[in-house]
């Protein structure tokens, strides 16, 4: 590759300030928010910061011409290494495309560029009576484009559903260079649901350049309950009971003692530090319904040994509780030099036993583990605390993580609830999917990206190359025997 010539051509597209090529400047793009010890570091050849869809399309055409991989990136808050340029090439960073283009209250949508920060969108629409429901804890930093690519979740996804449920349409630059709009403000567009297949595809099928998001009407009433429990066990039993009782809160979050201590040390939000765990429950909807459901939930908590049930009276009090919850990962810095954040889901009835298994892992591997998570969804986030410079620590952390994923899968769960597969988890996919399952997914990938140059090395297991899948397809045999795929199972 003639680096200088390509640099010039890229600069001609996005301007000199839109191309980064010096190794020192590229440093920050070598990793994302996933732990470097786990996802590794990879340097892109170029980072490009386009300001329009046309520029993105032009950059993609250049990458194609030069045979270079393309890695889309938002704010880099991803926890699975998804935004790392695993094979170098051109990284397309979307943060300069950060305009809110249209807000349409009557038809309940907004059109935004992908670099818009999640919280910024909510802050803009909430005073107007509408909100964008997906609210990842990283919402102060992460982009809507990243949310779309990772199909991100957040506390309020319990009632409102994950990002996929809130995306009405997308403008995308496809690997072919073609720019298309999928979907729109009316539901049920005829044909294959390309919007739905693109959401959650982790930047492997296209670069999202505009997003039409669904706006949800602000609820008439909101109530937030804080219930401390003596043990994590009693708290998780309460979670299962609330889900089973048929009252669906907007959010149902749990923090264990270690997390409470970190959060209190950092923010003094008023969480009781003597509790074994707390539940943070938000109920919203029509005033009468909120009152009825809040009482029911408070009763269930008391029946499950809650030490008390506190109701946040004012909007400020609610804010303070939520702020501390959402900043909990950051607060861990007070307890540890490094932490590894796992993300797995189990059926909600399996929460109590899974949490006690996390306790066992902590003892077995001599690692402190904090739990802050979306309990109502069964979506665990154990934070494994460690010191990278301690000999053998990383190995123990990884082994504990693997044991946990295995345990969750055996109980009907899965290896990622919301953070994505990226680089970090791709080899765990074989715990849940057969070669045939993966072959179908590879078929989806190939339909969009036959050259396989968009975000390579992501999602699919290392031992599973798409060439092998193509071989199966051509041979037309209904089983995967004899094709070198045995080790994938």
């Amino acid at each position: 590759m003639d680096r200088a010539a390509l640099r010039e051509r890229l600069e001609a597209v996005v301007g000199a300030s839109g191309v980064i090529a010096d190794p020192t400047d590229l440093l920050v793009y070598e990793y994302d928010a996933s732990d470097e010890a786990i996802a590794g570091r990879h340097r892109p050849d170029f980072v490009v910061l386009p300001q329009s869809t046309a520029q993105v399309a032009e950059v993609v055409r250049l990458a194609r011409e030069y045979g270079l991989p393309v890695t889309p990136r938002g704010a880099g808050t991803g926890l699975a290494g998804g935004a790392i340029a695993a094979r170098g090439g051109i990284m397309v960073v979307m943060t300069r495309m950060n305009r809110i283009i249209e807000i349409n209250e009557r038809d309940r949508y907004a059109i935004v560029e992908p670099g818009v920060i999640n919280l910024e969108l909510s802050n803009t629409t909430t005073p107007r009576g509408y909100f964008f429901a997906p609210d990842p804890s990283s919402q102060r930093a992460c982009t809507i484009g990243g949310n779309v690519a990772n199909n991100s979740g957040g506390p309020h996804c319990l009632k409102y559903g994950v990002t996929s449920n809130h995306i009405l349409g997308l403008e995308v630059v496809l690997p072919s260079g073609e720019v298309i709009w999928t979907g729109g403000p009316a539901p049920e567009w005829p044909g294959i649901d390309l919007t739905g297949t693109l959401v959650g595809s982790e930047g492997t099928l296209g670069i999202v350049t505009k997003v039409m998001v669904r706006l949800t009407r602000n609820p008439e009433a909101v109530s937030v309950l804080l219930a401390p429990f003596p043990t994590i066990d009693t708290a998780s039993n309460a979670v299962s009971a609330i889900v089973a009782a048929g009252v669906l809160p907007a959010a149902l979050e749990m923090m264990d003692q270690l997390s409470i201590q970190a959060v209190e040390a950092a923010f003094h939000a008023g969480y009781p530090t003597d509790a074994g765990a707390v539940l943070l429950v938000e109920i919203d909807g029509l005033s009468e319904a909120v009152a009825e459901s809040a009482d029911a939930i408070a009763d269930i908590c008391r029946q499950h040994d809650a030490m008390e049930v506190r109701v946040a009276e004012s909007a400020e009090e609610r804010e303070a509780l939520w702020f501390a919850r959402k900043a909990a990962f950051g607060a861990m810095g007070r307890l540890t030099p490094n932490y590894y954040l796992q993300d797995a889901t189990v059926p909600r009835t399996k929460l109590p036993e899974t949490l006690s298994f996390v306790g066992e892992l902590s003892r077995e591997y001599r690692l402190r583990i904090a739990n802050v998570f979306h309990a109502g969804d069964g979506n665990l986030h154990p934070l494994i605390l460690f010191d990278r410079y301690e000999k053998g620590a990383i190995e123990r952390v990884l082994n504990a993580g693997t044991d946990l994923l295995q345990y969750c899968v055996e109980r009907g769960g899965t290896v990622s609830g919301e953070h994505g597969i990226g680089l970090e988890k791709k080899d765990y996919l074989t715990l849940i999917f057969s070669p045939d399952d993966l072959a179908a997914m590879a078929g989806l990938k190939r339909s969009f990206d036959p050259l396989m140059y968009f975000n390579p090395e992501k999602v699919f297991p290392t031992s599973f190359s798409c060439g092998e899948v193509a071989a199966i397809k051509e041979s037309g045999v209904p089983v995967a025997g004899g094709l070198g795929l045995e080790d994938v199972v």
Partner: protein, 425 residues
């Protein structure tokens, strides 16, 4: 004559006469009872170059372009029943041939519900509902089934069994295959099992039914509620004919709203909604708990798109605030053709359903007039004469090349629903 010798001998056969699609009767009808049998049937048909149409309840066979070949009907109803239900997790896994009525009975025993509307629940199967991807008016309150799917198992044309998702409510492991297959009309794969989130059965419901002299007045009232915080789960406007079909009191225009909530709250909600729509209405009544289910069942029937000899059903999609613009335009077009028509407007979602009866040639003109309306238009059902030389899915969307690539990748031999999907894929 298609060569049927290759089809597996052990699989139950049915009478092909019962499986006509657009007037075409297949050479064979198979009713596999296990996923393995589905796989064997498909692999054999695919190998022999036969064209297969998967068959659920057959209630929505009117939807689709004229088949470009049809040798084998693959009846999935023997693949029935609930595969797995953990009530306390609010998740369920159901085999494709399970009817919506059977599923609902099962869930009701556990105080749960799958919040979708289906015209004929005793016939429609979950596989067919997922493949067709059409949602009724409760989409406004609950989203569509698309958003409730958490896992899926399919058999690909060469016989390979492939799953996606799982049995948990939050899952980003691997690509979202549920959304790929949902609404793809069985043109990529045969669905054999689906996993879904379910919700607690609302403990109480009410409906508000109001009568209006004009479309404008009905729409204004509907819009007032849609943009409020009153949170009904469905908002529908019916014209005179649809009102009659739904067995509601005669009215030029009816507005129906559904409330589903805890008991105390629902009574207040219905009163507040009734108060909000009363302005401009000739009457606004509250329908009680028991009546509500059957009322919405009748409204769903008004949207039904079962094949009929002299009727077309057209659905136009539009931004919700623009429904009345489309409705007015459609009324004018249809009135000019002198056709007997019925119209149901899903105000919450932005879908207008039109039904017209008459001579095939006039019906064809009606479709041509309606096809350019709104953002997208679909000929949901029509006598086969009307379907010749048109794409019932209307305008080609921007991503059509990718759809074509998907079809070529998943079904390279065109085994499934040959020619029936968008762009005659």
């Amino acid at each position: 004559m298609p060569n049927l010798d290759a089809l597996p001998a052990g699989v139950a056969r049915r009478d092909p006469q019962d499986y006509a699609v657009d007037g075409v009767v297949p050479a064979a009808a198979l009713a596999p009872a296990t996923v393995e049998e589905v796989s064997a049937c498909l692999a054999a048909a695919n190998d022999a170059g036969l064209a297969v149409i998967p068959w659920g309840g057959g209630s929505h066979m009117g939807l689709g372009n004229l088949p470009a070949g049809y040798d084998v009907a693959l009846d999935l109803r023997a693949l029935d029943g609930v595969a797995h239900h953990e009530p306390d997790d609010l998740t369920i896994s159901v085999r494709a041939g399970c009817t919506i009525a059977e599923l609902d009975r099962h869930l009701a025993e556990h105080g749960q519900v799958l919040p979708i509307d289906v015209a004929r629940p005793d016939r429609a199967t979950i596989g067919g509902v997922v493949a067709a991807g059409l949602a009724g008016p409760r989409r406004f309150g609950y989203g569509s089934l698309r958003d409730l799917l958490i896992g899926i198992t399919v058999v690909l044309p060469a016989g390979r069994i492939a799953k996606g998702g799982g049995m948990v409510v939050k899952n980003v492991s691997g690509f979202d295959m549920m959304r790929l297959y949902y609404g793809s009309l069985g043109s990529l794969a045969v669905i054999t099992q689906v996993n879904m989130k379910v919700i607690p059965r609302p403990r109480a419901q009410r409906s508000v039914v109001a009568r209006f002299p004009t479309l404008a007045a009905a729409v204004e009232a509907a819009e007032a509620v849609r943009t409020s915080q009153l949170a009904p789960t469905a908002i529908v406007v019916l014209d005179e004919g649809a009102t009659r079909r739904a067995e509601l009191p005669d009215a030029r225009w009816s507005l129906c709203l559904r409330c589903e909530a805890p008991p105390v709250a629902v009574a207040r909600q219905a009163e507040r909604i009734a108060a909000a729509v009363r302005h401009g209405a000739e009457a606004a009544d509250i329908v009680e708990n028991d009546e509500t289910t059957s009322l919405w069942q009748r409204i769903a029937l008004a949207l039904d798109a079962a094949p009929a000899a002299d009727t077309i059903g057209v659905r136009v999609g539009v931004a919700p605030s623009q429904v009345s613009v489309v409705a007015e335009a459609a009324m004018n077009e249809l009135a000019a053709l002198d056709l007997a028509t019925e119209m149901t407007l899903d105000m919450g979602s932005g879908l207008c359903y039109m039904r017209a009866s008459g001579e095939p040639a006039v019906l064809r003109r009606a479709w041509e007039e309606l096809a350019p309306l709104g953002l997208h238009a679909t000929l949901l059902t029509a006598p086969h004469g009307v379907k010749t030389d048109t794409d019932v899915f209307g305008r080609r969307p921007a991503g059509f090349d990718t759809m074509r690539a998907l079809k070529a990748e998943f079904d390279p031999r065109g085994t499934l629903n040959r020619g029936r999907f968008i762009g005659h894929l």
